[in-house]
């Protein structure tokens, strides 16, 4: 009797947990729809003809395979010019950023000098400065230096605003490198400068690669400085390509969606090939500000 009761209640709790399981799965699948449907809308609409986007709703499938939007963007030399500008800005900014951040992190992590705490504090404080407060003076300075409306205009502010968090993370990273390694190099007669290049910098590679991803994604997507500091199409980067295409084809939803899809493609490819590294890199900035 009591045993029967027990199996009953076991059955009940099993049924209850099955019910909970179903509810959870329905919610999970609902969230897949929420995350994925806008994406699908973007890619599929890119394959539609302009007339279809006007005549029918979003869920109307394209009548025939229509890759012309994508083709006309990919064969547009202007698109590749945006792409080229983005690549140049990205590479130069990243190289300068990573090098000077590593340089700054080294003494902050290793040396004992009077100004260390105030400098470190200043760098940490700079992490929370909103870039808008600097926008007008940076605009003025860029004009003053003759860099306005060139692709070089974006590089110094990109680097400057990425520096605080990069120095902060790299200082933490270098703190975790055992000092014994340097001491060995010290005994071998290696000076402080040499030690940086021959011991610390090579050992910081994992930290540098994480930061390269984090800052790379941000610089690749950077909008406000590029928007403010350049004017002509030939000097703008990919995020501004969207802006200019939108000006040109504002009523042609299909064309804009094709352009959007192409602009997201590099990130999707990165995500496919190095998912874990990319996710880890993108989260690197999530330190307590």
């Amino acid at each position: 009797m009591s045993q029967k009761k027990q199996t009953d209640s076991l059955k009940k709790s099993k049924r209850k947990s099955l019910g909970a399981w179903i509810v959870v799965m329905i919610l999970a699948i609902f969230w897949i729809l929420v995350a994925f449907v806008p994406f699908l809308f973007m890619v599929v609409t890119g394959f539609k003809q302009k007339i279809e986007t006007i005549m029918y709703g979003a869920f109307h499938m394209p009548e025939k395979f229509f890759p012309d939007n994508y083709i006309s963007i990919v064969t547009d030399p202007q698109f590749w010019n945006y792409f080229k500008n983005s690549v140049i800005v990205l590479i130069i900014s990243l190289v300068i950023l990573l090098f000077i951040s590593a340089c700054a992190a080294y003494p902050l992590s290793r040396f004992n000098f009077k100004m260390r705490t105030p400098i470190y504090f200043m760098i940490v404080a700079a992490m929370s400065v909103p870039m808008h407060v600097t926008l007008i003076p940076v605009f003025q300075m860029t004009i003053g230096m003759g860099l306005y409306d060139t692709i070089w205009a974006m590089i110094p502010p990109n680097v400057a605003f990425a520096t605080p968090i990069s120095v902060f993370i790299l200082t933490g990273f270098m703190d975790s490198i055992p000092r014994e390694l340097e001491e060995a190099a010290d005994i071998d007669g290696c000076g402080r400068y040499k030690r940086f290049f021959q011991v610390i910098l090579p050992l910081s590679k994992p930290g540098l690669s994480t930061l390269a991803i984090y800052n790379g994604v941000n610089i690749w997507n950077e909008f406000i400085f590029a928007f403010t500091l350049t004017q002509s199409e030939e000097n703008r980067t990919l995020p501004l390509a969207l802006w200019n295409y939108q000006g040109q084809y504002s009523t042609n939803t299909a064309m804009i969606m094709a352009c959007l899809t192409l602009s997201v493609l590099p990130m999707i490819i990165l995500f496919i090939f190095m998912q874990d590294k990319l996710v880890k890199g993108m989260m690197a900035g999530a330190v307590k500000g």
């Binding site: 897949i32 806008p38 340089c103 407060v133 600097t134 400057a160 605080p164």
Partner: protein, 299 residues
């Protein structure tokens, strides 16, 4: 004596070396962060179109105007709404998704990959995507409504709902971020705790509620700080999606500052808006961090 001078020499050589390594960063930060902040405050006391060199000192005129500027305070209020609703929506959903993925392990990888997708898009791309995906004609919600025989739904053109539509889009973009953040929080919890709890007869749900979630509190606290400071700075997404409109219904401090400075070329007043925004953000961030840290001391 000799020894003392030797150590002094050593100290000096350390200081020189530190300076050499630090100088590039310090110059760049001074020129592009520190100086501009000071210049913005200085410009806020002038009347200036940004182009001519004629800058008229007008004292506190801009600040007085800012304090009585209804548009600015509407923008600030919108920022505050974004801040609160982002917290209320993003934090619980982020935790739920992370809990689900943490419980499921490897076999739920499909969910993880798809849920992460929005974060791969830039804010500008998200703004454009939803500018069209929420359009009255052919947008997603209109199409759903049409399927059931309903009328078109105008989300971004309606003053009363536009801001909430924008907040929905912001949540869509950033929920994956908090999801991954909380997953990292979960993965730092010692696995033996789970095993011990199960051995002691706890169910999965009990383990999550009684053990894992309390251990996640520091992570949640950091996420709240990140979300609040982020909410006060939004620009790209809103600027391309609604341009602050219709009316001022989705205007934020940053979009208002940008329009005053670079559309109206009212750079003196634009500087005052930027400086006001800087002060508000700094004060709110300081208060929030203080609050969060104090709570940390009590627990």
């Amino acid at each position: 004596m000799k020894r003392a001078s030797l150590s002094l020499k050593r100290q000096r050589s350390i200081a020189v070396c530190a300076a050499v390594f630090l100088i590039p960063v310090l110059i760049l930060m001074t020129a592009y962060i520190l100086y501009p902040i000071i210049a913005t405050f200085r410009n806020s006391f002038t009347q200036w179109n940004g182009i001519s060199s004629a800058r008229k000192m007008i004292g506190l005129y801009n600040w007085n105007k800012l304090i009585h500027d209804k548009k600015f305070w509407t923008a600030f209020l919108n920022n505050v709404k974004v801040m609160f609703l982002s917290l209320i929506v993003q934090m619980p959903i982020g935790i739920l998704l992370a809990t689900f993925l943490d419980a499921g392990g490897k076999k739920f990888n499909v969910f993880k990959v798809i849920w992460f997708l929005p974060l791969l898009m830039s804010s500008v791309a998200v703004g454009y995507l939803f500018h069209y995906a929420l359009a009255t004609n052919g947008g997603l919600f209109s199409s759903i409504s049409n399927l059931f025989g309903g009328k078109n739904i105008d989300l971004l053109g309606n003053q009363r709902v536009a801001l909430y539509a924008v907040i929905g889009v912001i949540c869509w973009q950033f929920i994956p971020f908090y999801m991954v953040y909380y997953m990292a929080g979960y993965s730092s919890i010692d696995e033996t705790l789970y095993e011990a709890a199960i051995v002691d007869g706890a169910t999965r749900g009990q383990y999550i509620r009684k053990i894992a979630l309390p251990l996640l509190v520091p992570t949640i606290r950091n996420a709240i700080v990140l979300s609040i400071t982020g909410s006060l700075k939004y620009f790209d997404l809103v600027y391309v999606m609604t341009g602050g409109g219709p009316g001022e219904s989705t205007e934020l401090m940053a979009t208002y500052m940008y329009k005053e400075s670079f559309s109206k070329y009212n750079m003196g007043y634009g500087s005052a808006v930027a400086a006001g925004m800087f002060i508000l953000i700094t004060v709110i961030a300081a208060v929030v961090m203080r609050l969060m840290n104090r709570k940390g001391g009590e627990i």
